[in-house]
């Protein structure tokens, strides 16, 4: 039997509770991308003209990992604010608002699923 991979994207809603570290509230991941950045250097995007915000790193054991955020996810919305056409700095600001303890993200994730095709002859 031969193996095939299907690639499709799913949308996830992820709720991250910020962790207080001293004076800062951290989320535990890093972002890359933005309309003022170079989209061709983004290793996670499928379309190299995509200027959206992507998750480039997730710290182990951090609030983002606990909430289920994965590396390579594209962030579409943060608390209802659109993140597909924002600059890098605007994205950072929207995620690190001082008076918010919880952020609700809408992310798009590419998954590969193995589909095994059964051979006709048994």
């Amino acid at each position: 039997s031969s193996q095939y991979f299907l690639s499709f994207s799913t949308q996830q809603r992820i709720e991250i509770h910020k962790l207080r570290q001293g004076d800062n509230l951290i989320l535990g991941f890093s972002i890359g991308g933005g309309i003022d950045q170079d989209p061709t250097q983004n290793p996670f995007s499928e379309d190299k003209t995509d200027k959206g915000i992507y998750v480039t790193r997730v710290t182990e054991g951090g609030p983002a990992e606990v909430a289920g955020l994965q590396i390579g996810d594209k962030i579409m919305q943060v608390n209802g604010w659109d993140m597909t056409m924002v600059t890098h700095d605007q994205a950072r600001k929207r995620l690190t608002k001082r008076n918010e303890e919880v952020v609700r993200l809408l992310v798009t994730r590419q998954s590969l699923q193995k589909a095994v095709q059964q051979s006709m002859m048994s």
């Binding site: 951290i26 991941f29 890093s30 972002i31 890359g32 003022d36 950045q37 250097q41 890098h88 995620l95």
Partner: protein
């Protein structure tokens, strides 16, 4: 037992110590002689050498038959059997006979053409003068007096004739550099044009002026001036047709030598095939490395081995199926797994290594030899009168120390035929005179140079035949192929037209060069 087993070849009767062998060489040879003879006596199969050949490579003196054994001026050991000295190959005979018969026939044709042109030119040049002088001689008394106007016209005729003379001398009076197989079309055209032109002028002059004894001298002089003007215009036409038209490049020709594949590209303008062949040949002597038959022996032996590998037996009867046989041979050869590519690879690698080694030894030997020579300045020349040498003697003094290394290198690269000892000595004294470094001296020997660099006897390429499917006076066109054959090899010439180039312009404002920084930053939140 040893007497029966020993195979001795004695070498006799072939020494000619020429009168001008220098003492230094004899010393050099004697130095090398002793170890070799020791070797000779030790082995079972021994070769006894009676006398070493002294300078068998004498340049001009050497006959054709001795060309095979001419590289012994650095060493002393050769065994030569009696039969190979005086054989002349078939090719040599063909070459000698061809040289003889061709030199006689073409000269007549060339001189005939030249004399016709010269006579015509002289006639044409004297015509205006005759036009002016004849009325004065024949009916002087009847002529109308013609004052300053005529004198002005005389001066202008004189100067125009002078300019025409200088121009004709510059354009036409040159050493013919080649013999072309067919007549040069443009030149013939111009000659015919000039002839018709002058003939018609004479006709008119004879009928209208001589017969009727015209008295208007000013008109006659103006007629002569118009002739000179027209001749100057024909000269202009000659320049354009013969010299200018071919200057603009229209074709690119690729010239490939058939024996070793060396190729070059040249740009040519509008020329006939024979003139293009002439240009190619002129450039051949300068650009192509000299044809060396010794370099082709390796591929020939490989080819012979391929052919000898298979034999075909006809089992089915006397029916002679030749094409079927050859096809079967080719198929069998393709299927056979031979390792000749392996041989070739290792042989070439080995040869390269050997050449590099010998080259290193040669460079070191020459550098060391050159350190022994020092140029004397003018003041020093008076102070040390004892040991002064002229360049030739200096060359002969340092030559023995590099002779052996040079000879070995030339033998390895199979160039020994092209350099006789005399030519090497001459080159060495030339380099010493001109303060050249050892590397400059060696440049001539390390790489094979163009044919012009070598002695005429070694060229293998003096008599050329143009083989072409089109007429040789027709113009060059895209796709024409013609072959220039000489006795040993041929040059295949392929003509391609230079493509029509469409060039368009684009204006860039210098202020429009602007740049932006593209980043990909990563921020942790």
């Amino acid at each position: 037992m040893s007497a029966a087993m020993d195979t001795e070849s004695t070498y006799s009767g072939y020494s000619h110590y020429s009168g001008h062998s220098k003492k230094a060489h004899r010393q050099g040879r004697d130095r090398h002689k002793s170890p070799r003879s020791k070797d000779g006596s030790r082995s079972e199969k021994s070769v006894t050498i009676q006398t070493p050949p002294a300078e068998p490579l004498l340049g001009n003196d050497a006959s054709r038959a001795e060309e095979g054994q001419d590289d012994n001026w650095g060493e002393t050991t050769t065994a030569i059997t009696g039969t190979s000295e005086h054989s002349i190959s078939q090719e040599d005979i063909a070459r000698i006979s061809k040289d003889l018969e061709d030199s006689v026939g073409l000269d007549c044709k060339r001189y005939l053409g030249l004399t016709v042109a010269a006579v015509l030119g002289l006639l044409v040049f004297l015509t205006p003068i005759a036009f002016i002088l004849l009325p004065q001689i024949l009916w002087r008394d009847d002529l109308e007096p013609c004052g300053t106007v005529c004198e002005g016209l005389f001066i202008s005729v004189a100067f125009k004739l002078l300019i025409l003379l200088i121009g004709t001398w510059a354009l036409f009076f040159r050493q013919p550099k080649a013999d072309l197989p067919r007549v040069f079309v443009f030149r013939a055209l111009l000659l015919v044009l000039i002839f018709l032109f002058v003939f018609s002028y004479w006709l008119f002059y004879g009928v209208r002026i001589l017969d009727s004894k015209d008295t208007n001298y000013q008109g006659i002089v103006q007629y002569a001036v118009s002739l000179v003007d027209a001749l100057l215009f024909i000269h202009y036409l000659a320049i354009v047709l013969l010299e200018l038209r071919q200057l603009q490049p229209m074709f690119t020709v690729k010239v490939v030598r058939s024996t070793d594949g060396e190729s070059r590209y040249y740009s040519l303008g509008h020329l006939s095939i024979q003139r293009a062949a002439l240009v190619v040949l002129e450039n051949y002597y300068r650009d192509f490395t000299v044809y060396n038959p010794a370099l082709l022996t390796a591929s020939k032996s490989r080819a012979a081995k391929h052919m000898a590998g298979l034999k075909v037996y006809n089992v089915d009867g006397p029916g002679n199926n030749a094409s079927g046989q050859s096809r079967a041979m080719i198929a069998a050869a393709a299927r056979r797994r031979d390792s000749s590519h392996n041989e070739l690879y290792y042989e070439e690698a080995d040869h390269e290594r050997r050449v590099k080694k010998r080259r290193a030894r040669l460079v070191v030997a020459v550098e060391e030899a050159f350190t022994h020579i020092k140029r004397l300045q003018a003041e020093e020349q008076q102070k040390a009168p004892g040991e002064m040498m002229d360049p030739r003697e200096a060359a002969q003094a340092i030559f023995p120390s590099m002779a052996r290394a040079l000879q070995k290198y030339l033998r390895t690269t199979r160039q020994q035929q092209y350099h006789s000892m005399e030519s090497i000595l001459q080159h060495l004294s030339f380099c010493i005179t001109n303060n050249m470094t050892p590397k400059a001296f060696l440049e001539r020997y390390l790489n094979p140079g163009p044919t012009l660099q070598y002695d005429r006897d070694r060229w293998f390429s003096k008599q050329w035949t143009l083989v072409s499917e089109e007429a040789v006076t027709s113009r060059l066109q895209d796709g024409i192929v013609f072959v220039l054959k000489c006795l040993d090899f041929s040059l295949v010439v392929n003509v391609k037209k230079i493509p029509f180039i469409k060039l368009s312009e684009e204006f860039i404002d210098p202020k429009s060069h602007k740049f932006v920084l593209r980043l990909q930053s990563e921020t942790s939140v």
